[in-house]
């Protein structure tokens, strides 16, 4: 399902704390990679004339997987390309990403998808999977040829950026996804409640005079889709959950045994709508930043696994689109290069989330949802490794991404990605 580089690098990572919570590994040891595969884990390993990375004081973890990235290709290559987006992913410690299909043209037929995958083989810095659209042109009316798209390598299906407004179409999509044997990922939004909305419908939007985007605009559709997933028995992945009411629907689904998974973004986990008071367009996202209670509910859900994945919803926008008044700006912020550091700084360091949980939700969690190989630190596994310097403090000033619409621009963060090995190849150093 993934397309991209396949590496056969020889590396020894020496002296790091090696931490893979899923494998139950936590020890200060060396890791030797031979031909892109983890060959040996132990103390004072022979270097075999491999490149040696002195990693004393750093932490070596399974590399991250991002299930929700806007690569803006085809159509807006000025904002991001396969190459720049995957370079940003590598810099953020990711060994695999999934790109969403709301491009121009929309990835809704096998020809477009095959073209993208062919380009990814030569251009991508880390492996990329492509999600295809649920409905033609993401118009919400006619289903795409999911079986043909799956044969062409679609990693799953989503109309992200837009909801599937009709409950009937959504039910048919879930039923038919059995043929393609891939999950559906949904952007939950009730458009008649969110029309004209620029920020969470609450005290901050009331004070600023911004049109409200209410929590119910999300949770009504989460509730509907959870029920449809339970009814059809087909896997449903809820993207960028923002409201505590949505979390309640997810808990209800899990209690029913419905095959429902969910993701949350670093910005919804780190920020509240209080930040919107600055009217900085880099704080405008869809769904919007919500209240402290919503943020707390999301953190709880990540902690207990109700939300099993962290996804950046990396959404590049050009300066001319974002250097405008708040209400005129499009939704979306970039996040690949700052995801780990922002969550480490704002959740792990203050004691809101354990490091081990964060690592699992950024790697094994999303991989399992989309049926990707789990990055793991074990002899015989492909090397998908990220080396973290947790003591490093750094200022966010420049990006590998072609865009810089980050809410963290100029801010200081703790925890830096020092090295990324993706699919056996050193992708970032």
């Amino acid at each position: 399902m993934l397309a991209g580089p396949e590496g056969r690098d020889d590396v020894v990572v020496r002296g790091a704390r090696v931490l893979d919570p899923v494998e139950g590994v936590d020890a200060t040891v060396d890791v030797r990679v031979d031909g892109g595969v983890i060959a040996q884990i132990g103390v004072r390993l022979d270097t075999n004339e491999h490149r040696v990375v002195d990693a004393a004081g750093c932490t070596l973890v399974p590399a991250f997987v991002d299930p929700h990235v806007h690569l803006r290709t085809p159509g807006r290559e000025d904002e991001e390309t396969i190459e720049s987006g995957t370079a940003a992913a590598a810099a953020g410690g990711y060994c695999a990403i999934l790109a969403v299909p709301n491009t121009d043209p929309v990835v809704d037929d096998a020809g477009v998808l095959r073209g993208l995958r062919a380009r990814a083989v030569t251009e991508a810095r880390v492996p990329v999977g492509f999600l295809a659209a649920i409905t033609k042109g993401q118009q919400g009316d006619e289903l795409t040829e999911m079986a043909a798209l799956a044969d062409a390598g679609a990693a799953g299906f989503t109309d992200d950026g837009r909801p599937v407004v009709s409950a009937g179409v959504m039910r048919r999509a879930l039923q038919y996804s059995a043929v393609a044997d891939r999950p559906l990922a949904v952007h939950c939004e009730e458009p008649t409640l969110t029309r004209g909305g620029h920020a969470h419908a609450g005290a901050v939007a009331a004070e600023l005079g911004l049109g409200g985007w209410p929590s119910l605009g999300e949770s009504l559709i989460v509730g509907r889709d959870v029920d449809l997933a339970a009814d059809t028995g087909r896997p449903l992945h809820v993207m960028h959950v923002s409201a505590c009411e949505s979390v309640e629907h997810l808990r209800r689904a899990h209690a029913l045994g419905a095959p429902v998974t969910a993701e949350a973004t670093p910005h919804h986990l780190c920020l509240t709508d209080d930040a919107v008071r600055t009217l900085d367009p880099n704080l405008k996202m869809n769904p919007p930043l919500r209240t402290a209670a919503d943020r707390a509910a999301l953190i709880d859900a990540v902690r207990d696994g109700t939300i099993a994945a962290i996804a950046t919803d990396h959404a590049p926008h050009s300066p001319e689109e974002k250097e405008v008044p708040f209400e005129a700006a499009p939704f979306g912020v970039i996040g690949l290069e700052t995801a780990f550091a922002s969550l480490y700084t704002h959740l792990v360091e203050p004691g809101l989330l354990r490091l081990e949980t964060l690592l699992e939700r950024m790697s094994a969690g999303p991989a399992a949802i989309f049926g990707l190989d789990r990055p793991r630190i074990a002899v015989g596994a492909r090397a998908n490794l990220t080396l973290l310097d947790l003591d490093a403090t750094w200022r966010v000033t420049r990006f590998e991404s072609r865009s810089s619409n980050s809410w963290l621009l100029g801010k200081r963060l703790r925890g830096r990605v020092a090295l990324t090995i993706a699919n056996g190849r050193v992708a970032h150093r």
């Binding site: 029309r195 004209g196 620029h198 609450g202 005290a203 939007a205 009331a206 004070e207 600023l208 005079g209 911004l210 009217l279 367009p281 001319e320 250097e323 405008v324 008044p325 708040f326 209400e327 005129a328």
Partner: protein, 332 residues
């Protein structure tokens, strides 16, 4: 790379007097939240001094001679644009008023590029009205000029709040403990947002009255019952902002129903209450013509206050702190 400047330029002394005076810490007026109670007191006192100067035959003061005030209006405006233009002229500043229609904005120029272009004239003040929240803040980040927000979307309109405070103080003698009922379309009103904050800052109280869907939660105590205006000293009537309402949003079923339930009529007022309206009025919709034309109405006072308050704002931004305005007025 930062070498001390020891060249000829460093020794060059500029002669005082021709220099632009040092700018105060606060360079802009973007929102009521930018102001302290002391700031408001100073601005209202300054406005009052200017009001006396406006009683003379020669109403012009030399205070801002040689300064440039640009009025940039992306939305139609009668009161605010004329009032800023006249305020700048009464203080002897050069002014230029630009409307969005008939300018490069029609040719697709972005707000950023317009701001940079106008900044090349080195204006001292840019007065901006724009249909989107945050526009004045954006321009403030792009220019060296002082920026005065003359209304950005549904967000803020701080000089309107100041002129309303001035009008209320002149009518009632003080602001502390004053009760103000704001009636109508609060949701779409930057005037209401600024006024609620300004009243709170000065120790007055506001309640909001109107159709439920037009009363945003959390701004101030709110009710849909028009009888609640009975306890107010000031009934502040807002315009139904039909141009800002999305089609089919159904905030109210009809204007007739609005007028029947929330129109401010003589029958709904008690003696001693004063009525204000930021204009433009929809007579017969939110305000009964008999009220608009009665002695209870302070609408004309508001317009007069607008001139002297905006003179005070320009003066305050362009002079280094509260220099004796009395002296400036006397000298003239």
């Amino acid at each position: 790379m930062t070498e001390p400047r020891t060249g000829a330029a460093a020794g060059l002394q500029l002669v005082g007097g021709d220099l632009v005076p040092p700018r105060s810490e606060r360079r802009h007026l973007l929102a009521v939240a930018d102001l302290t109670r002391d700031d408001v007191e100073r601005l209202l006192a300054t406005a009052r001094s200017f009001a006396r100067s406006q009683e003379r035959a020669n109403k012009k003061l030399p205070t801002l001679r040689g300064r440039l005030v640009l009025n940039v209006f992306y939305e139609s405006s009668t009161r605010t644009s004329s009032s800023f233009e006249l305020a700048a002229k009464r203080l002897s500043a050069d002014t230029l008023t630009l409307k969005a229609s008939g300018s490069s904005v029609d040719k697709g120029e972005s707000l950023k590029d317009t701001a940079l272009t106008l900044s090349a004239y080195d204006p001292d003040v840019i007065v901006l009205r724009h249909p989107e929240a945050g526009a004045a803040g954006l321009v403030a980040r792009l220019t060296d000029a002082c920026v005065v927000n003359a209304g950005d979307g549904k967000h803020q309109h701080p000089t309107q709040a100041l002129l309303d405070l001035y009008t209320m103080r002149e009518a009632f003698g003080g602001l502390e403990g004053l009760h103000v009922a704001i009636v109508g379309d609060v949701l779409h009103s930057r005037v209401a947002r600024s006024l609620v904050q300004a009243l709170e800052l000065m120790g007055a109280e506001a309640i909001l009255v109107g159709p439920p869907a037009l009363l945003p939660e959390g701004l101030a105590p709110a009710t849909h019952d028009i009888a609640a205006i009975a306890g107010a000293d000031v009934v502040y009537v807002l315009r139904m902002q039909r141009e800002r309402m999305l089609a089919g949003a159904n905030f109210v079923p009809s204007l007739a129903e609005y007028t029947r339930l929330w129109g401010v009529t003589p029958e709904r007022l008690r003696p001693g209450q004063r009525v204000m309206h930021p204009g433009p009025m929809n007579r017969g919709v939110e305000i009964d013509p008999r009220v608009a034309d009665s002695d209870a109405a302070l609408v004309g006072d508001q317009v007069r206050a607008g001139l002297v308050v905006r003179m005070a704002v320009l003066y305050d931004l362009l002079t280094s702190g509260p220099v004796a305005v009395e002296a400036a007025v006397e000298v003239a």
